[in-house]
């Protein structure tokens, strides 16, 4: 087994490194630190960032891939999350089964072993072991509780130092400088849920199985990576384009400005979905004619995800660019920029040191604001047929399949419900956080 990073894995880890570096730089500046304090002073911001961290954790676990070189495994590529869920990957059921069920959801015709006549039976599931659901739940919840409390205690000890007792008391009564009590509560609930579901997944299908007998919980967990990646990596493409072109247009003005304005007006006048659809259609043609670019289906779908992210990025930088251009125009007239010019500071230095730092609030607002929109867009694009690869786990693909299941009688509701809950939590958390970020950073809304 050896480490085998896909293209998107590499980009994700670059992004993580960039965020870490940015965070470290921010912590050095007392002003920025205070702004972050103000953002997280709200309970909603604290709670939603804990939720987001959980999602990010799953996405990162799913972004470390290994290639199994043992001949028995046939060189398949698996992630850390796959390995943790290998008990679900190794067994596949035949068809639908409800959450926690021990038998299949639809009757099958089999020949009766005694009389030899065909009879209709609910067949038992392969993966389900005879066990007491209640007993196992208690074990799961117990382990989860221990884990959560242990981690919370560790954090309290780390933050409180030697005076951790009085610090713990402050947290308990809600007197700490930041609403840590809320954060710990959310953390405990989520840890309990995750551990409980994980423990239960060893003996049954917690969220049921889909049409071909795949575990729905596994599919929903694997979809996290797709959603989070589309939401975050797109900004990796958008930001450089928007910042570079926006600042250049606002600072240089003249023909540079005209050209850049023409560029983004043209791009933004094409309806978004259609431009993305056109881009993805062409990408399919290119990928079909270059089969040597990928060795396996997982690499193929990964490449397609990468292209989709690039297409989304190239089509969605115009709004931010327009805003940055307007703000740069305003800042460039300010006294301190004029003074810097008079002192003979070079153009690039003025842009880097005096203009870009003052655009940070707009950039940050747009990053968090775009995230939830992109996660939602993935579902719609997959439905339209221009989203991620159909073989890839994603909420959009799950909804797409579940759409037909709702027409069945009796209804197969768990796939749709699972993707709904997973998506809703992520998008709601992102929306709440972006609201708070906007409230603190946007000078117009702070008034």
């Amino acid at each position: 087994m050896r480490l085998y990073l896909l293209w998107t894995d590499i980009l994700v880890w670059i992004l993580v490194a960039a965020i870490m570096f940015g965070g470290w730089r921010l912590l050095r500046s007392p002003l920025a630190k205070e702004t972050w304090y103000r953002i997280f002073y709200a309970k909603t911001a604290m709670a939603s960032s804990i939720v987001l961290l959980f999602y990010l954790g799953f996405a990162l676990l799913d972004s470390i891939h290994f290639k199994q070189v043992e001949p028995a495994k046939g060189g398949s590529i698996v992630s850390v999350l796959d390995m943790a869920m290998s008990h679900q990957r190794s067994v596949s059921e035949r068809t639908y089964s409800a959450p926690f069920a021990s038998h299949e959801y639809v009757m099958s015709v089999i020949s009766d072993p005694k009389s030899g006549k065909p009879v209709q039976r609910y067949l038992p599931l392969k993966h389900v072991q005879d066990g007491n659901i209640l007993e196992e739940s208690i074990i799961g919840i117990g382990v989860g509780l221990l884990l959560a409390i242990g981690l919370v205690m560790l954090h309290i000890r780390w933050r409180g130092g030697h005076a951790w007792r009085s610090y713990a008391r402050d947290v308990w009564f809600g007197k700490s400088s930041l609403p840590w009590r809320t954060a710990y509560a959310v953390f405990t609930i989520l840890t309990l849920l995750v551990v409980w579901m994980y423990v239960m997944s060893f003996s049954c299908h917690v969220l049921g199985t889909d049409k071909v007998g795949g575990d729905v919980l596994y599919a929903a967990l694997k979809s996290i990576r797709t959603g989070v990646l589309i939401g975050t990596l797109t900004t990796l493409i958008t930001l450089p384009l928007a910042v570079l072109l926006g600042v250049a247009a606002g600072y240089f003005r003249g023909w540079v400005d005209d050209l850049i304005q023409y560029l983004y007006t043209t791009l933004s006048s094409i309806p978004g979905v259609l431009l993305i659809a056109a881009g993805v259609l062409m990408m399919q043609v290119v990928m079909d004619s270059h089969p040597e670019w990928f060795a396996s289906t997982i690499e193929r779908s990964d490449l397609r995800l990468l292209f989709l992210v690039v297409i989304l990025g190239v089509t969605s930088w115009t709004g931010l660019c327009r805003m940055l251009r307007a703000e740069t125009l305003r800042i460039a007239k300010m006294d301190y920029v004029v003074a810097a010019k008079a002192f003979g500071v070079s153009r690039w230095r003025i842009m880097l040191r005096h203009i870009v730092p003052n655009l940070m609030h707009i950039i940050l607002i747009s990053i968090v604001l775009d995230f939830s929109g992109l996660v939602l867009a993935e579902a719609v694009l997959s439905y339209v047929g221009v989203g991620v690869d159909p073989t890839m786990y994603s909420w959009g693909n799950m909804i797409n399949q579940a759409r037909l299941e709702m027409a069945r009688e009796p209804m197969v509701w768990w796939s749709l419900t699972a993707s709904f809950v997973f998506m809703f939590l992520l998008v709601l958390a992102a929306n709440l956080l972006s609201d708070r970020v906007q409230q603190v950073l946007d000078p117009r809304r702070a008034a």
Partner: protein, 324 residues
């Protein structure tokens, strides 16, 4: 006024040429006519002669940007790019892979698209604005707060879920309206009801929040304080002062959409089986019919630019400071 409109239309031409260039790059440079011919004729047993014949039949046998065989100005004009662009500017979209006239199809499908999009747009506009005004009237109260929480929740659900949930509840379980389909004339109301309701509801969250923030921005202005000082009631302040002054930012965001209503909604139409332009596009994407996608991209851009021009014109109606 007329000269202004004329000038704006002239400004639109370079943008449309740019749009054409982008679509041309996507559809002809990335996917060359040779590739298209191979895809159309089937990968096996295609001789170069067959490809040439197919290209000649479709008129794709010219060079892309520069024709070295031609004379004078025709170096540039007798090329695939100029020919294809001119056709689009004439609204001649050619024929689809199924050998149907695309322009005719588009004309026939605009009606059904509009019959969903227009009511959704109007009803959403009215409900969003009235709800936002109500929230501003009770700003800071528990009602306001709980509605804002509800708005964030509504925003956080993917539109696909509203459609699926609506179809299951209202059509499958309660049998109030048919699940999908379309008829022309007044009969169509049965089919339109559910998509319109879902369209209005799914846009409620973001819509109400946006209008509320516009009105709240107005309510801190001096003229509102003056109006209150005159002894006007809060309702009179809202309707006579805040609403008209809020119209300007509202117009900026709303008028630009109006022409694009013709394009319909991709997801809504395909879920409800409405034979409009949205489902037309989705079918074309799934069938990889590039001619239709190309036509829709061009049409969408034309309608968007028309929306921008309309926005500027609407300022002259609502803002006395703006004259053209």
């Amino acid at each position: 006024m007329l000269t202004y409109i004329f000038r704006r239309i002239l400004y639109a031409i370079p943008i449309l040429i740019g749009v054409n260039l982008i679509t041309f790059m996507l559809f002809f440079v990335v996917n060359t006519p040779d590739d298209m011919a191979r895809a159309q004729l089937g990968a096996k047993q295609t001789t170069p002669e067959m490809i040439q014949a197919w290209k000649a039949e479709k008129g794709y046998d010219k060079p892309l940007f520069y024709n070295s065989d031609a004379e004078g100005i025709e170096h540039v004009t007798d090329t695939l790019f100029v020919r294809e662009s001119l056709k689009l500017f004439m609204f001649d979209f050619g024929v689809s892979d199924a050998n149907r006239n695309i322009a005719e199809d588009i004309k026939a499908r605009m009606g059904p698209s509009l019959s969903i999009a227009l009511p959704t747009f109007l009803i959403a506009l009215i409900t969003n604005i009235s709800l936002a005004l109500l929230l501003v009237l009770f700003r800071g109260s528990v009602f306001d707060l709980s509605m804002m929480i509800a708005a964030v929740m509504i925003m956080s659900v993917s539109g696909l879920f509203y459609i699926i949930a609506g179809q299951v509840l209202f059509s499958k379980m309660w049998h109030w309206v048919p699940i999908s389909g379309y008829e022309s004339g007044w009969e169509s109301i049965r089919f339109i009801l559910l998509p319109v309701a879902i369209g209005v509801f799914s846009g409620l969250g973001s819509g109400v929040r946006w209008y509320r923030s516009i009105f709240l921005e107005q309510i801190t202005q001096d003229y509102v304080r003056t109006a209150r000082a005159k002894g006007l009631s809060e309702i009179a302040v809202l309707f006579r002062h805040v609403l008209p002054n809020g119209m300007l930012p509202i117009l900026t965001g709303v008028v630009v959409i109006i022409p694009s209503l013709f394009m319909g909604s991709l997801v809504m139409e395909s879920f409800f089986g409405i034979p409009g332009l949205g489902s037309y596009t989705i079918d074309a994407i799934n069938a990889q019919d590039f001619a239709i996608v190309k036509a829709m991209v061009f049409l969408g851009s034309v309608l968007y630019i028309a929306g921008l021009i309309l926005t500027d014109l609407s300022y002259t109606l609502f803002d006395p400071r703006v004259t053209l």
